[in-house]
């Protein structure tokens, strides 16, 4: 028993940080209806600034704490509210998720650009000395980090309970989550209520971040991502509603992780995976077992019907004449591009464009699942990785050609996707996003970290595995292969989109009630679109690995899944065109940034660019690039077809449609 307690009790401080973050998530959700995916980044930001001020600027700990937690953290919350989430209060759950994700990806990248070469080691503790063991419980030493975490969590929770239960602000916050527009009709300033909630939750994020920091020798964002999944799990059991349940589950999880790590054999895959897999198991358990989580995010603002409909894509708007011209131009571009690639293209750019083709295939899987299926999956890089790893395994163990292995890999990725789809069959929106991000983290920490890699080293792709001169340094054979594969995938996506399945999916997105009411099997559609998307991602993953000549777990990590989403959402998630532009845009910008002095950030700058690009998703759910194309096409069309009678796109009963005259929603 003593042994058991000796493992359990040191888990409590970890559990306290999980609990704090979970409480912050619940609070924001309760007041604003936003499940704040950027929360881990907010915690990281405060911890980063705190550590920076103490270690690099040599400020006293108390002053650094005031600046980074008391001042900065609520300010970030307020900025999020004022500049981002306030504008999208009425937007759908995907728009809110995308906004949070873009910040989750963007903030660490901004930090990496702003602060280079700083010391992130040995983050200090705010209250008690981490080096001192204050007392022992059941033989377990309790040091300053633990005491600080428990004391700070307890104080925060009591303060919060008072705020929510016994103040009028707490009551208004609870009203605001139903519909901010409705409480405003009652004469309450919804903006102020929501802003206070953001400030308070920001403060909690900062506090949790700073509390967690000394537990690790070095401040790394990935630890905060793990923290966030644990907090999501606790918040999910609380149905994003009950603060006591969130705290209880958070603390229990911290304790359980410690016990598991104590009893499982040291250094085994089980032990290293316990920390990240347990939150996943707890999260999936909540998503599957807690009935309230199934409908989460499905509830609509009662005043949502005043919002205009989403605009149609450019292609459906174009006059047939213009459509023909544009199609011919695309073919000309394709031919010129292909000929250039096969003849004079400099080697550097040849590599860039080849990678662009491979990325385009991966991104097409996002077109399928998000653009057509209307679901946000945050594990597309993982699915690509499953395909690549499977193919590599078959090649290295059985000597199977990577091109055939790639198809098997695609099937494996599809299988993983189908399993995820079945596990999430009753989930939509939020629940699905949570489940997929958790799955991505688990794959990172278990399969990708362990299978046939030595200390996480990538597997090299050898020409013996591929043949046909595809790994030749000139890259022409690869270009032909990638072009053929991309074309096949585009045709697949287009045929599905224009066919019955695409129409069923569009019906489902439009109104799932009516879709099942006419006989569409929603479960089957959900599984089907996941499976297809998984297969395409798997093929893309193999292609990417051949292009990079290695199967690298880094390439398929969870953070790339998020980056992929923000990239595709920026260019256009509804059309294959958008995916291809995303693929090429991603690699071309990456290449261009190598010409920029590296102190300006390099790859971080790329991520920041797309992260902020993705913020336009709310105003232009079809993609900012797609929106601009539509605008210019319309202008061009007016010029080109002047004098001829063109049927104007019909608006509500003959008027001008809302989407033809500029930004559609909010911003």
């Amino acid at each position: 028993m003593e042994h058991f307690l000796g493992f359990a009790i040191p888990g409590i401080p970890y559990g306290c940080t999980y609990a704090l973050v979970a409480v912050g998530l619940v609070l924001t959700y309760q007041a604003t209806g936003v499940l704040n995916f950027a929360y881990g980044a907010q915690a990281y930001l405060s911890a980063f600034v705190f550590t920076y001020l103490v270690q690099n600027e040599h400020l006293p700990v108390a002053l650094a704490f005031v600046l980074s937690v008391v001042v900065l953290a609520p300010a970030v919350g307020l900025i999020f509210d004022r500049l981002l989430f306030r504008k999208i209060a009425a937007a759908n759950v995907i728009a809110k998720l995308v906004t949070g994700i873009s910040m989750l990806v963007g903030i660490p990248a901004v930090l990496a650009i702003l602060f280079t070469n700083n010391n992130q080691y040995n983050p200090p503790s705010i209250l008690f000395n981490p080096g001192v063991v204050y007392f022992r419980v059941a033989g377990a030493p309790i040091n300053g980090i633990a005491v600080t975490a428990v004391v700070a969590t307890a104080v925060t929770l009591v303060a919060l309970l008072v705020l929510i239960r016994w103040t009028s602000l707490g009551l208004k916050m609870r009203g605001a989550v139903e519909s901010r527009r409705l409480i405003e009709l009652d004469g309450i300033s919804g903006g102020r209520v929501v802003a206070s909630a953001w400030a308070v939750s920001g403060l909690i994020a900062g506090l949790a971040g700073v509390l967690l920091a000394p537990a690790y020798g070095q401040l790394q964002f990935s630890d905060y991502a793990d923290l966030m999944v644990a907090a999501f799990a606790a918040a999910a059991w609380a149905v994003l509603r009950s603060l006591p349940v969130a705290v209880l589950v958070g603390v229990l999880m911290g304790v359980t992780v410690n016990i598991l790590q104590g009893y499982l054999p040291v250094g085994s895959i089980w032990s290293s995976a316990a920390l990240t897999s347990l939150p996943f198991v707890v999260l999936v358990g909540a998503l599957v077992l807690v009935p309230g989580m199934r409908t989460l995010g499905g509830a609509k603002d009662p005043l949502a019907s005043v919002d205009p409909p989403t605009p149609p894509t450019t292609a459906t708007l174009r006059a047939p004449e213009l459509d023909r011209v544009i199609r011919i131009l695309w073919y000309v571009l394709l031919v010129v591009f292909s000929v250039s690639m096969l003849t004079w293209m400099p080697k550097i750019w040849e590599n860039v464009f080849n990678a662009g083709l491979a990325y385009s295939v991966v991104f097409l899987s996002i077109t399928l699942i998000t653009g057509m299926g209307g679901q946000l999956s945050l594990c597309q890089a993982t699915l690509a990785g499953v395909g690549a790893f499977m193919a590599a395994q078959l090649a290295s163990h059985l000597g199977l050609n990577l091109l055939i292995g790639g198809l098997v890999g695609a099937a494996a990725a599809a299988l993983v996707a189908v399993v995820l789809a079945f596990a999430s069959v009753r989930l939509r929106g939020l629940g699905l996003a949570l489940m997929t991000i958790a799955a991505a983290l688990v794959f990172d920490n278990t399969v990708f970290a362990e299978v046939d890699t030595v200390n996480g080293q990538p597997i090299n792709v050898t020409s013996r595995w591929v043949g046909l001169g595809i790994l030749n340094p000139d890259g022409r054979a690869f270009f032909v292969l990638a072009l053929v594969v991309l074309a096949a995938c585009v045709i697949l996506v287009l045929r599905v989109r224009r066919g019955s399945i695409g129409r069923f999916l569009a019906a489902m997105q439009g109104s799932s009630t009516a879709a099942s009411g006419i006989g569409v099997n929603l479960t089957w559609m959900h599984v089907l679109v996941f499976g297809l998307s998984g297969a395409v991602a798997g093929i893309g993953g193999t292609l990417l690995s051949i292009n990079q000549q290695s199967v690298n777990p880094q390439l398929f990590s969870w953070s790339f899944s998020l980056v992929f989403v923000v990239v595709v959402v920026t260019t256009g998630v509804r059309t294959p065109e958008g995916a291809i532009q995303a693929g090429f845009g991603y690699v071309v910008l990456q290449q261009l940034l190598t010409y920029v002095p590296s102190r300006l950030g390099g790859n971080s700058l790329l991520i920041v660019f797309f992260a902020f690009g993705a913020l336009t998703y709310v105003a232009h759910p079809e993609g900012i690039l797609e929106f601009q194309k539509r605008r210019w096409t319309l202008r061009f069309e007016r010029l080109l077809l002047r004098g001829r009678t063109t049927p104007a796109p019909p608006g509500p009963d003959g008027g001008t449609p809302a989407w033809a005259s500029g930004p559609a929603v909010g911003g």
């Binding site: 149609p312 045929r495 066919g499 399945i501 129409r503 006419i518 449609p657």
Partner: protein, 259 residues
């Protein structure tokens, strides 16, 4: 036709109850609809009409009771399978597919009902509308008076036209029973009259059974064979329209008790 005889029942609702948090929305309701019969379901707001519809169509699962279509039990069947058995439905709050043209609504419904939309057909590029499908779609659109707006995006239509789109979407699947939930709500007098005429006509032409929830009693009187009145979750009267409306219990339910 009264639909009361056991051998002549298409839809049978037997002792169905549904409570929400202690409030009985539908309490021990029984109802039969014969083949080709048109039944009006009326009652004040909160009477439980839409809840009963949701139980029949599968959006809600009743706490107790049996529901059968042609002798087949429905309660454990998911919504989409009920639709494929021929239960068509329109909704109180319009449920159209905002990204689609009018014609596509009908095509989708037809393919979902007869399960002709297959992935392999899409992949082989075989999913263009067949002549059979197109003529069916055109016929139904003509019947409800949407022929000239077949290719318009539904987002460009007004509420009245959207209700017609819903109706056409239900009709194109050749339902054996149509559950129409307040089809006239939000329509003006003229549109309501037109809609009533369409309902009556399609019901006669296709020999389809219909359950109509409606607040516009003039339309109910014109369209239905038999009227069922619900109040506070229970059936309080049943019979032909005029005699039901003369029932004192019905008058109380609608107008309240004097004094």
């Amino acid at each position: 036709m009264t639909g009361g005889a056991s051998g002549d029942v298409l839809l049978r609702v037997e002792a169905v109850s549904k409570t929400f948090g202690g409030i009985a929305a539908v309490n021990d309701v029984s109802l039969v609809v014969g083949p080709g019969e048109s039944v009006g379901l009326v009652g004040p707001n909160g009477a439980g009409k839409t809840t009963l519809f949701n139980c029949v169509c599968g959006q809600l699962r009743p706490d107790r009771g049996r529901i059968e279509l042609d002798g087949r039990p429905l309660v454990d069947m998911p919504t989409f399978e009920r639709a494929r058995l021929g239960i068509g439905r329109t909704y109180q709050r319009v449920e159209v597919f905002p990204d689609m043209a009018v014609r596509d609504h009908l095509l989708v419904a037809h393919r979902a009902r007869w399960r002709t939309g297959r992935l392999w057909r899409d992949l082989c590029n075989l999913s263009k509308p067949t002549t059979e499908e197109s003529s069916k779609v055109d016929a139904v659109l003509g019947m409800v008076g949407l022929g000239d707006r077949a290719d318009a995006p539904v987002a460009s239509l007004g509420l009245g036209s959207c209700r017609l789109v819903e109706l056409a979407r239900a009709l194109v699947a050749d339902p054996v029973v149509l559950m129409a939930d307040e089809p006239s709500s939000g329509l003006d007098v003229h549109e309501t009259r037109e809609l009533g005429a369409v309902l009556r006509q399609v019901q006669r032409d296709q020999g389809m059974a219909m359950v109509l929830v409606e607040h516009d009693l003039a339309m109910v009187a014109e369209v239905v064979d038999r009227t069922v009145v619900m109040n506070l979750g229970e059936v309080i009267a049943e019979g032909d329209f005029t005699s039901v409306m003369a029932d004192p219990a019905v008058r109380t339910a609608y107008l309240g008790v004097r004094g």
